[in-house]
């Protein structure tokens, strides 16, 4: 049954009693996550959250587990994490459940183990949006390169699966070259360059992560003289993902055509919001929320699917996009 | 006490290493209870036979028998070790382990856990039994050369095998140490132990062995009772030609010639004290002394391998920077270090390259080295020193000991040095090579170099114009040419007349 969110999602009641909230950052080497890492302490102040010094698990689930134990030892009452590896966090979630510590998972949806709330955008939707955008621009035929993330990451897999399924179903005339890049710019550049050599008629590129793929892609296209206005028949349509400021810059310059803005600010805001709510004993139901999103039911908890808008030249200057707020 | 039973027989052994034939249908038969010498020039195949007799290598053809029985299968190491013990030419000491463990390597215990206390006391007993004065608890890597050698011998003997091989055990020992070793060997022979003894010091063969086999160019040449094969015939058998003993040349020292190598007030704590030394152009000065007398330490200071605590070294009129080899070389010094394997050459590099490192700057301009000129220089050195090799491009690591040593000497002579320091140049080197090496030193002196010759061998020292004898770190005597063995040995032992 469709319900409503338990409370208003605005930071209304700041009279924090609750308890300390521990946050683990997944990595310190990505533009997207660095923005998130900046937002957390900033928004914690605004939301009146009693934030412990955040830990950082450097993309390593074993470190994440160790950090969680340390946070618990230091008295955390709720934990916010972003397990980039969604399988190997299961026992930790079980342990936390056993200790009645609510967990908010950001960006990824753990495969197993109880979570209070997953704060995420629909990564499958990113893939579908990218597919639809490119499909339309190419008129349903031609060749595109997909610079994928890492095979071990759900987000990468979700994006790839949705993109592939949508292409097969809606644009069977388009050939997709899938390139696994391990979220690595060097690999992306080499693969794209080789593919363009092999198929000079490639007309579209889908990058799974602008943070790592943007600069190398532009460099390769530039070297081939393919950075030309959309009207030019040589134009290669490029759609990115993440929504960092440099992507917006590239859209403005006409170097790429679109990106999906993955809301770093909202990730931080709602992660803290739900963690605090959990400590305060609040509960939530599936259904639409007051912040343009929908909570869905998972076997092991709930997921608030935040909006991830498609950004093109038309809306690139929208002040509400997080990429326009960072300095 | 000798019977006709053969303790060990090797019949028609052939061993090839690629194109090299190390043994060509060679053989040896050693009668039970005798001490049998195996002699031959460097590369004759002696050590190869040793590794076949101890089961480390399998012959391509031929057969080994112990006491008339066929040798055990190659995999059965224990059976081999009960039949034959060996002190190999190459050290088999493991430096990072203690003396006690080295002694009982792979037999620390019969079964179960090792009892270290018991092992240590067994080791002490063993060391005591063989009169080896080292701490069972110290690391083998911290031992000196003689102590290591004694450790190898004690270990080899401790297996209780009735047949023992000693491959050049005396090459690195000084006189008294050699005598101590021979005393032990005699005692063993009295207990009926059979021995095979390899040495390039032929007088040792006559001193300790009853019979001798000669190998030449991978073949067995002759086996005889030592009494039936006098020294010159033995050398002829080894070299395949009639040859005479080395005759040092007569030179009259020119006391007005300039001093080319001088030391003033040199002291190095724990090694030697207040040493003064002056070597003139054309003069060869010997440096003698028993073990630990400090002679090597002093020589190494002269060339810059060590840095003295006080005092100065002057080469060819230039006071060189202490402890700095390049500055000594630049001033006109050449030297042969004590341990050729450690400091003498780079095994993978060619003869030509090894020998020309000090003169690389003369083989081309702007840091360039002309390979053609290098090869040409190398070929010349090979001819001058009679180095047995396939050519100047052969890596030194592939040469036999004596030939490698000649390359080291070639390097020392490369720059036509004014001052020459050679340390134990003839260790492990066969008679013919020895003559060539000593001759080269005399040639250098004739060309006007002043040389310091450090040696444990009285024979080598005979080419010297005078010999400085060191005792406990002091130069105690300056002996002019014409000394007798007893005179010099007495001085070395610190017995003053």
């Amino acid at each position: 049954s469709s319900g409503t969110t338990g409370t208003s999602a605005a930071p209304a009641d700041t009279g924090a009693k609750g308890g300390k909230i521990g946050v683990d950052f997944p990595r310190a080497d990505s533009d997207f996550w660095n923005s998130y890492n900046k937002y957390v302490p900033q928004l914690a102040g605004e939301l009146g959250v009693d934030l412990m010094p955040p830990t950082n698990s450097q993309n390593d689930v074993a470190k994440l587990v160790a950090n969680t134990q340390a946070l618990l030892g230091q008295g955390a009452k709720a934990i916010v994490m972003a397990p980039q590896d969604t399988g190997a966090i299961a026992s930790t979630l079980q342990t936390l459940e056993g200790k009645n510590i609510p967990v908010v998972s950001v960006d990824t949806r753990p495969d197993k183990g109880k979570v209070f709330m997953v704060v995420r955008a629909d990564n499958k939707a990113y893939g579908t949006k990218a597919c639809e955008f490119l499909g339309e621009k190419l008129g349903g035929k031609g060749k595109v390169v997909e610079l994928m993330g890492a095979l071990s990451s759900v987000n990468g897999r979700d994006r790839a699966e949705a993109f592939g399924a949508c292409m097969k179903e809606k644009f069977p005339g388009i050939t997709v070259f899938e390139e696994p890049t391990e979220w690595d710019g060097t690999k992306a550049a080499s693969m794209l360059q080789t593919r363009l050599q092999q198929h000079p008629d490639i007309k579209g590129v889908y990058m799974h992560a602008g943070g790592v793929h943007l600069a190398p892609t532009l460099q390769v296209l530039k070297a081939k003289g393919l950075i030309v206005p959309p009207e030019d028949p040589k134009h290669v349509f490029v759609i990115s993902n993440d929504g960092i400021p440099q992507e917006f810059e590239a859209i403005r310059k006409g170097e790429i055509d679109a990106t999906v803005s993955q809301p770093a600010d909202l990730y931080a805001k709602y992660a803290l919001f739900y963690a605090k709510a959990a400590v305060d004993g609040k509960t939530f139901q599936p259904g639409p929320t007051d912040h343009d999103s929908t909570i869905i039911q998972l076997p092991n908890g709930l997921e608030d699917q935040l909006p991830a808008p498609l950004v093109t030249k038309k809306n690139v200057d929208d002040k509400n996009l997080w990429g326009n707020q960072v300095k | 006490m000798t019977s006709s039973v053969k303790a060990v027989e090797a019949l028609g052994i052939t061993k090839r290493f690629g194109p090299t034939t190390a043994l060509d249908r060679a053989g040896i038969a050693i009668t039970e209870g005798e001490t049998h010498a195996l002699v031959g020039r460097n590369g004759a195949g002696k050590s190869t036979l040793v590794s076949i007799l101890t089961g480390l290598q399998r012959p391509d053809e031929g057969e080994i028998r112990f006491g008339g029985e066929p040798a055990p299968p190659p995999a059965d190491r224990d059976a081999w070790r009960q039949r034959v013990a060996c002190v190999y030419q190459k050290s088999t000491i493991i430096p990072a382990l203690t003396v006690a463990e080295n002694l009982f390597l792979n037999r620390q215990t019969d079964r179960g856990a090792i009892n270290w206390r018991a092992l240590r006391s067994r080791a002490r007993q063993l060391l005591e039994q063989y009169g080896v004065d080292v701490d069972a608890d110290s690391l083998a890597g911290d031992l000196g050369v003689e102590q290591r050698q004694l450790l190898e011998i004690a270990r080899a003997l401790s297996f209780g095998a009735r047949f023992i091989i000693l491959d050049e055990p005396t090459a690195q020992l000084d006189g008294p140490a050699i005598q101590r070793l021979f005393d032990r060997m005699r005692a063993l022979r009295e207990q009926g132990v059979t021995m095979m003894f390899i040495s390039h010091h032929l007088e040792e063969v006559y001193e300790i062995c009853q019979s001798v086999s000669v190998f030449r160019d991978a073949r067995h040449i002759v086996t005889a009772r030592v009494g039936d094969l006098p020294h010159d015939r033995l050398v002829d058998a080894m070299t395949g030609e009639a040859s005479a003993a080395y005759e040092h040349r007569s030179r009259t020292a020119d006391t007005s010639a300039p001093v080319v190598l001088a030391a003033r007030g040199l002291s190095l704590d724990g090694r030697y004290q207040r040493v003064d030394l002056a070597v003139r152009s054309g003069e060869i000065v010997g440096l003698a002394g028993s073990g630990s007398s400090g002679k090597v330490g002093l020589a190494e200071t002269l060339v810059g391998l060590r840095r003295a605590d006080t005092g100065t070294v002057t080469v060819n009129g230039t006071e060189v920077r202490p402890g700095d080899v390049p500055s000594a070389l630049a001033a006109g010094l050449g030297f042969v270090p004590q341990d050729r394997h450690r400091e003498g050459f780079v095994p993978l590099l060619s003869i030509a390259e090894n020998a020309t490192v000090p003169i690389a700057h003369k083989l081309g301009r702007y840091g360039l080295i002309s390979p053609a000129r290098r090869r040409e220089r190398g070929a010349r050195m090979i001819a001058e020193l009679d180095i047995k090799t396939t050519g100047p491009d052969q890596p030194v690591g592939d040469l036999s000991g004596g030939n490698a040593q000649k390359v080291v000497l070639a390097r020392a002579l490369a720059d036509d040095p004014r001052a020459l320091v050679v340390i134990n140049p003839t260790a492990g080197v066969d008679v013919k090579a020895k003559h060539a090496l000593l001759g080269a030193v005399e040639d250098a002196a004739a060309r006007g170099a002043g040389a310091v010759l450090v040696s444990d061998e009285l024979d080598d020292l005979r080419i010297c114009d005078r010999v400085l004898v060191m005792f406990h770190g002091h130069v105690v005597k300056d002996v002019p040419r014409g000394w007798t063995d007893t005179e010099l040995v007495a001085a070395m032992e610190g017995i003053d007349q």
Binding site: R27, A28, P53, P54, T55, N56, Q58, V61, A62, K63, V65, A66, Q69, A70, G73, Q74, D85, T86, G87, A88, I89, A90, S91, T92, L93, T95, D111, K112, G113, A150, L151, S152, R157 | L56, R77, D78, W80, R81, K90, T92, I93, I94, P95, A96, L97, L105, N106, Q108, T109, A113, I114, D135, S138, L139, D142, G270, E300, L305, R306, R342
Partner: protein, 336 residues
């Protein structure tokens, strides 16, 4: 790597060398003491039994890889592929028993076989390494580097990069059980370390590793079957790495495609700061253990202190460097 041939000009007096050699494997003890004191100032939680047990538990799988690597290093060889075994062995072991729906191969062998199969796979990887290195006389470094890629590639291919979390009970049990109040993983690791310390200190088979690593020819001459021992060491190393994978899987409740990736550097760092030589023949298992502890304590303290992520690596690397220098100065000997 670095040559051991110290020139006579810089050699250390024999006497002092002997004395200190004894304690070389304990040169990190002062570092550990300093870390314990520093940690107690950083956070009162640090010195609680709970936290220290956490540190041990977190390090237990890495400690086993360090143990395996130390054995191989002491014998004078090298194995980089251990880190891939940590992920691949349990992944394939599990896939042999779970149904296709959960990501298995469809064989559905009895679940009790999962751990034995996993250890078997680890052993096979070690045996294959040993085969390539000994039979073909290839460099251990480069063979195991290639094998590190191959083994991990096999895991990626077979699992399609997906995590496995339908684990047999036995894995989960080992990951979560506590015996006498201490996690099972700590017991298992402790027992294996104790066994290895005993074997390398008091048994011929263990001493043979030192002999081989110190001078393989001398070992051969002493009747040690060098090739056979080395092969055994590679197999044992693979099995221990697979066991590390089992413990890690149990602790985390799933096997990700990246399990073990990047561990090998940490394993080397731990072994070497603990006094195990890269040249073979030197160092002790106890020393290696102190190396693991230093790394574990540093990580724990940095976490408790809340060092910002972007500076953490710098601090961490610097502390390893300092530990290295302390162990060098305390040990009084040139390192290799």
């Amino acid at each position: 790597m670095t040559t051991t041939k110290t020139s006579p000009a810089v050699a250390v007096p024999a006497g002092r060398r002997i004395q200190l050699g004894r304690f070389r494997d304990l040169t990190l003890v002062p570092v550990i003491v300093v870390l314990l004191i520093a940690g107690s100032f950083v956070d009162p939680v640090f010195l609680t039994p709970g936290n220290l047990i956490n540190v041990l538990q977190q390090q237990s799988a890495l400690a086993l890889v360090v143990l395996a690597e130390a054995l191989i290093l002491i014998a004078g060889k090298f194995d980089l592929s251990l880190e891939s075994t940590v992920g691949m062995a349990p992944a394939v072991g599990v896939m042999l028993v779970i149904p296709v729906a959960s990501g298995g191969f469809g064989l559905e062998l009895p679940a009790v076989l999962a751990i034995p199969l996993c250890l078997l796979i680890g052993g096979l990887i070690g045996a294959f390494n040993g085969f390539l290195i000994m039979r073909f006389q290839l460099s251990a470094f480069i063979v195991t580097l290639a094998m590190m890629i191959v083994v991990h590639g096999l895991q990626l291919g077979l699992t399609q990069g997906k995590s496995l979390f339908a684990l047999p009970e036995s894995f989960l049990y080992l990951g979560s059980a506590t015996w006498l109040g201490v996690p099972a993983a700590i017991w298992i690791t402790g027992v294996l370390f104790a066994g290895a310390i005993a074997a390398l200190g008091y048994f011929r088979a263990g001493r043979a590793l030192y002999a081989i690593g110190g001078n393989a020819d001398a070992a051969r001459a002493a009747g040690i079957r060098v090739e056979r021992v080395l092969w055994t060491v590679f197999v044992v190393g693979g099995v221990i790495a697979a066991l590390a994978g089992v413990l890690e899987t149990g602790r985390l409740g799933g096997i990700s495609a990246n399990q073990g990736v990047g561990w090998i550097f940490m394993a080397f760092a731990a072994a070497v700061i603990g006094g195990v030589s890269m040249d073979g023949g030197k160092g002790t298992i106890l020393g290696a253990l102190t190396g693991v502890l230093v790394i574990g304590l540093v990580e724990n303290i940095l976490t408790l202190k809340g060092v910002p992520g972007e500076w953490k690596q710098l601090v961490y690397g610097s502390i390893i460097l300092i530990a290295l220098m302390i162990s060098r100065l305390a040990g009084g000997k040139a390192q290799d």
